[in-house]
């Protein structure tokens, strides 16, 4: 599903040039749950952003479903993204001005899903995540765990083929973190491909493969024990 060739990302400011990714080559097959680990600044979030098509590489290629997408226009990336990808962020990134229902509904507005279908899909998801009773609340009125559940619901509402999660438990206590990880595991179990960046070994082991990065390069790739 995902294949990169010598993927490189260099950030340039007036005086400094920082190589965030250096000739990264990875392969992720459909249905995999891959965790990316590494110290801060190793390039894992940059990798996630490029694979999530919200940033573009400086050099190298990125194939998504065998199609080169690394150098698409913004509009082109947006098109691929909205039909195939879902995002979960550490800081939830819910829109404060929208209710729970509206936040979850949002991606479907951009894919032109009919209103009735939007309603049923959102309600189904909120029921499944046990937050239906909060549907008319605003993000600030929810706990962190609840917010992240809403964020997960938003990420999956368009039935994406790939979910990209950037430290999804980073702002949660362990109980809520567990709950979110279980949700991701459940999604994986239904066939969704997941790529997750995390600092936590515990969370990483929810996946079936762990990629470790250092200084913009992939240093090791391990299969998680339970999948050996």
């Amino acid at each position: 599903m995902i294949r990169t060739e010598k993927l490189t990302k260099v950030y340039r400011t007036d005086e400094v040039e920082t190589t965030a990714l250096n000739n990264v080559e990875i392969n992720i097959k459909e249905g995999e749950f891959v965790s990316v680990m590494g110290p801060s600044g190793c390039g894992k979030s940059t990798l996630l952003n490029i694979l999530g098509m919200i940033d573009s590489p400086t050099a190298g290629n990125y194939f998504f479903n065998e199609e080169e997408v690394g150098h698409l226009s913004e509009r082109g990336r947006s098109n691929v993204r909205k039909h195939n990808l879902g995002f979960v962020f550490q800081s939830f990134n819910l829109i404060d001005e929208l209710t729970v229902f509206e936040n979850v509904e949002l991606p479907m507005l951009y894919t032109k899903v009919p209103r009735s279908e939007r309603k049923s899909r959102v309600e189904e998801l909120l029921e499944g995540m046990n937050i239906m009773h909060r549907r008319n609340h605003f993000p600030q009125q929810l706990s962190g765990g609840q917010q992240q559940r809403v964020a997960v619901a938003r990420a999956v509402v368009n039935k994406p083929k790939l979910i990209l999660a950037d430290e999804p438990t980073g702002n949660l206590d362990s109980a809520n973190g567990d709950e979110v990880m279980k949700m991701l595991a459940d999604l994986h179990a239904t066939g969704t491909t997941i790529l997750m960046v995390t600092h936590s070994q515990y969370c990483a082991e929810f996946g079936n493969r762990i990629i470790r990065m250092l200084d913009g390069q992939v240093v090791t790739e391990n299969i998680v024990k339970q999948y050996l």
């Binding site: 919200i54 947006s78 909205k82 819910l94 829109i95 001005e97 949002l106 951009y110």
Partner: protein, 823 residues
């Protein structure tokens, strides 16, 4: 999707109510100012357009050859012009000459006798003598009478409804009579509705007299006091008539041109251009001014511009708080165009609210604004009746969308350009370009406000200079009484007895009679020259009759020679040598090196048709006959043994004048029982000339206040944002020991630099426009330093006060908390 845009927009506005309020109030203020000003402009542009044949009506003004007289053109023409042109051109459907009685030095007194025998009598200043075709040319709403025949005969009069009510207590008065100057009877043949405010000919009545067709009048090519209007056949090109005018002028006026030594030119001036575009002297009503209309439009646009800049500035400065939302929307699939649309919808919502509030406020303020501009500007443009028409609702809707696009496009482009990868990770930084843009906007905003404040100061100081400058005569404590109409030798004796009786009143220090008093243009003007000078060396001179008490009453100095004594009176119409006074300006025009040199010299001057001789007895110090806009007029004074004096001027001793006024009134009533006693105080009469300037100053002040208010609002909001964005820096500096004052200096430095840029930006405009405006005054205060300094000082105070309050609030916060919030 649109629903989602609206929902987000509404909730976003609600989430920061103070900033939203500033957005809306700022824009609403701009809309209110603009709506009122556009209503005013609409009214000014609507003058005379209500006449059915407005496009085919022309006036025939005269332009004199260069060097003759101070005016480029005069609105009135010779009595023969109308009838002659009518005969010469088949394309002229009708003509009407309009004569204001004061232009031939006459007063009009009308008297009605009611059924009960009660007499109503008044001196009328707002009536016109005209021709029978007046109502064929001008469309007025007849309540009673037939417009086609109303003025068919001499001594017919058509009254406006208010005047009919005043004289008869009813409007159904066709067939009744009014007594004209105690001698003739005018028959009321029509009653029309009050003349609309947007007509340049404002009158209470028009009447016909055989005088207009008398030989010596209808064929007269001198006496340019008849405003002549032509109704052309539809589709006639006025230029075809204008092309033949020089030949007609030559045919009739060659001798006159030769005798007077000047050339005249006629032209056709469209009726609908008269109010705003006329450059003519001798207008029958105060003309509007394209310059004022343009200036006011500019003021309105400036206030709207300030409000718009506020919106742009605040919306783009607030963009950081919307960055995450933009990031999320992009991540879940929003295209840039969709985000642009979203923010334009949001701006449109703010604009719609502001436009609605602005239109409500404008309607509520129509009356005070009308008083401010001293015109009843109506509500034809912004009244609800007009606005609720489907076409206008569509225009408003289009206005909302357009203003939404104008206000929203820049913030929308800024916001939609955010890169989600950065904003969602929190590594987003404000673009330097955006900061420069906002600084530029703030500078422009300040520059515009400085211009308005400086301009207002300039206008105010010039007005106060005009009010306080020594006019060369005393205008205080002078009571001016309009002299009675002399109709026979008895009334002549009675009229002449009044000043002697008034002089015996204890509170009166002196009484004088004259044909004019200071405060308006002298009506009579003719050619004069020193004996021995060539005809072409003649000077266009104002002629005024005064008595031996005039200089004393008005406290005017004599710079050479002597004042009149009673024996100096001469009959102005016989050939005896008249004794005359001239003023310093005329002495200079004649070429005398000093006033003393003029004494004893003889002058040829004309009163009526014939030149006569006058010997200069004295030279009067120049004084301001008219406002300080005008240079000193060249004036020749004569002391006639017989004259229909128009004014008695009574100099009162300091103290309570009410008893003296009552006594003067009693003396007048004693000599002219039943006549209206009309009087005014000279200072008020003179100051009337500054009404337009005072009104202009008031409008400037109001607009400057609005500008400062809008700019202040914008600055308040911007400073709040700047401080909140620099909260981390302030926290760090506080922890490191910085004092609040030091922090304030640091933050305010950026604004002070912008203020300096604004001052530099505004400087050339201020000098250009200020000098241009002052050039309209013969006597001006000049550009003082404080016109440039005060606005800047005011802004420094505003900036420091707003920043001070903001920083005190911000510094009160725990710096640790501030740092925690930022991280």
């Amino acid at each position: 999707m649109i629903r989602n845009y609206f929902k987000t927009a509404l909730r976003s506005l609600r989430s920061s109510p103070f900033l939203s309020l500033i957005h809306i109030i700022g824009l609403a203020t701009g809309v209110t100012a603009c709506a009122l000003i556009f209503q005013y402009v609409h009214f000014e542009n609507s003058f005379d357009k209500f006449h059915e044949h407005a496009d085919d009506i022309y006036r025939v003004p005269i332009r004199y050859s260069e060097g003759f007289g101070p005016w480029p053109r005069t609105a009135a023409n010779h009595p023969a012009t109308g009838p002659t042109l009518y005969q010469e051109f088949s394309s002229i459907k009708a003509y009407a000459r309009v004569l204001h009685p004061s232009n031939i030095g006459a007063n009009v007194k009308l008297t009605s006798i009611s059924r009960s025998g009660q007499k109503v009598s008044a001196s009328e200043d707002n009536v016109f003598m005209t021709d029978s075709s007046f109502f064929e040319i001008f469309s007025h709403e007849f309540i009673y009478g037939d417009p086609e025949t109303a003025l068919d005969h001499p001594d017919n009069i058509v009254l406006t409804a208010p005047m009919a009510l005043r004289y008869f207590g009813s409007t159904d008065v066709v067939g009744k009579e009014l007594i004209y100057n105690d001698r003739n009877r005018l028959q009321v043949t029509g009653v029309i509705a009050k003349v609309p405010d947007n007509a340049h000919l404002q009158f209470d009545a028009v009447y016909t007299r055989a005088f207009m067709h008398r030989a010596g009048v209808i064929d007269s090519w001198i006496w340019p006091e008849f405003h002549t209007y032509l109704l052309l056949e539809p589709g006639t090109d006025p230029q075809t008539i204008e092309a033949r005018l020089p030949a007609i002028i030559d045919k009739h006026m060659t001798n006159i041109h030769k005798e007077y030594g000047f050339q005249t030119y006629f032209s056709l001036q469209p009726l609908i251009d008269i109010h705003l575009k006329s450059d003519c002297a001798n207008e029958l009503s105060a003309a509007g001014s394209t310059r004022t209309v343009r200036f006011l439009s500019l003021l309105g646009i400036i206030v709207l511009l300030l409000a718009w800049i506020n919106y742009l500035n605040l919306a783009s400065a607030r963009s950081t708080s919307r960055a995450r939302e933009v990031g999320v929307r992009k991540v879940v699939g929003a295209l840039r165009i969709q985000l642009v649309m979203q923010f334009i919808v949001e701006a449109s919502l703010v604009c719609a609210t502001a436009i609605c509030i602005g239109l409500f406020a404008a309607n509520a303020l129509l009356h005070p604004f009308s008083e401010l501009v001293q015109r009843n500007i109506g509500n034809a443009l912004i009244g609800w009746e007009h606005l609720s028409a489907p076409r206008n609702l569509l225009i408003i809707l289009a206005g909302i969308v357009l203003s939404g696009i104008l206000a929203g496009i820049y913030p929308a482009l800024v916001l939609s350009a955010f890169r989600p990868a950065q904003v969602l990770k929190g590594t987003f930084s404000r673009s330097r370009q955006g900061v420069h843009f906002r600084r530029g906007l703030v500078s422009i905003q300040m520059a515009l406000s400085i211009l308005l404040i400086g301009g207002t100061l300039l206008v105010t100081t010039q007005l106060s200079f005009m009010n306080s400058k020594d006019l060369g005569y005393s205008k205080d404590q002078i009571l001016v009484v309009r002299a009675p109409l002399i109709t026979d030798s008895l009334s002549y004796v009675a009229a002449n007895a009044i000043p002697d009786r008034v002089a015996t009143i204890g509170a009166v220090s002196s009484v004088s009679r004259s044909s004019e008093v200071p405060g308006r243009l002298i009506a009579f003007r003719n050619q004069t020259r020193t004996v021995g000078a060539l005809e072409e060396e003649g000077a266009s001179t104002y002629l005024q009759s005064i008595d031996d008490k005039y200089l004393e009453t008005f406290d005017v100095d004599l710079v050479a020679g002597r004042n009149y004594v009673i024996e100096d009176r001469t009959n102005p119409f016989d050939s005896t040598l008249a004794r005359i006074l001239i003023n310093e300006t005329l002495s200079g025009v004649y070429g005398f090196d000093s006033p003393e040199e003029a004494i004893g010299q003889q002058v040829l001057w004309k009163l009526g048709e014939e030149f006569r001789r006058g010997e200069i007895l004295g030279v009067v110090a120049d004084y301001h006959q008219r406002s300080l806009r005008e240079a000193y007029d060249p004036i020749l004074y004569y002391f006639p043994s017989y004259d229909n004096w128009r004014y008695y001027s009574i100099s009162l001793k300091p103290g309570d004048w009410s008893a003296a006024l009552a006594e003067v009134k009693a003396i007048y009533a004693n000599h002219f029982p039943g006549d209206i006693f009309e009087y005014f105080f000279l200072d008020e009469y003179f100051d009337r000339q500054y009404r337009a300037d005072q009104q202009f100053a008031k409008v400037c002040r109001t607009m400057a206040l609005l500008a400062v208010f809008v700019a202040g609002l914008g600055f308040l909001a911007l400073s709040m944002l700047v401080i909140s964005q620099r909260r981390k820096e302030i926290g760090v500096r506080k922890i490191l020991g910085a004092k609040s004052l030091k922090i304030m200096m640091l933050i305010s430095r950026e604004f002070m630099v912008l203020l300096l840029i604004a001052q530099l930006l505004s400087l050339p405009f201020m000098i250009h426009f200020g000098k241009g405006w002052l050039d309209g005054f013969a006597f001006s205060v000049g550009m003082n330093w404080y016109v440039f300094a005060v606005p800047v000082i005011l802004f420094v105070v505003i900036i420091l006060s707003i920043l001070g309050v903001q920083l005190v609030r911000s510094s009160a916060l725990d710096p640790v908390h501030a740092l925690k919030q930022e991280s």
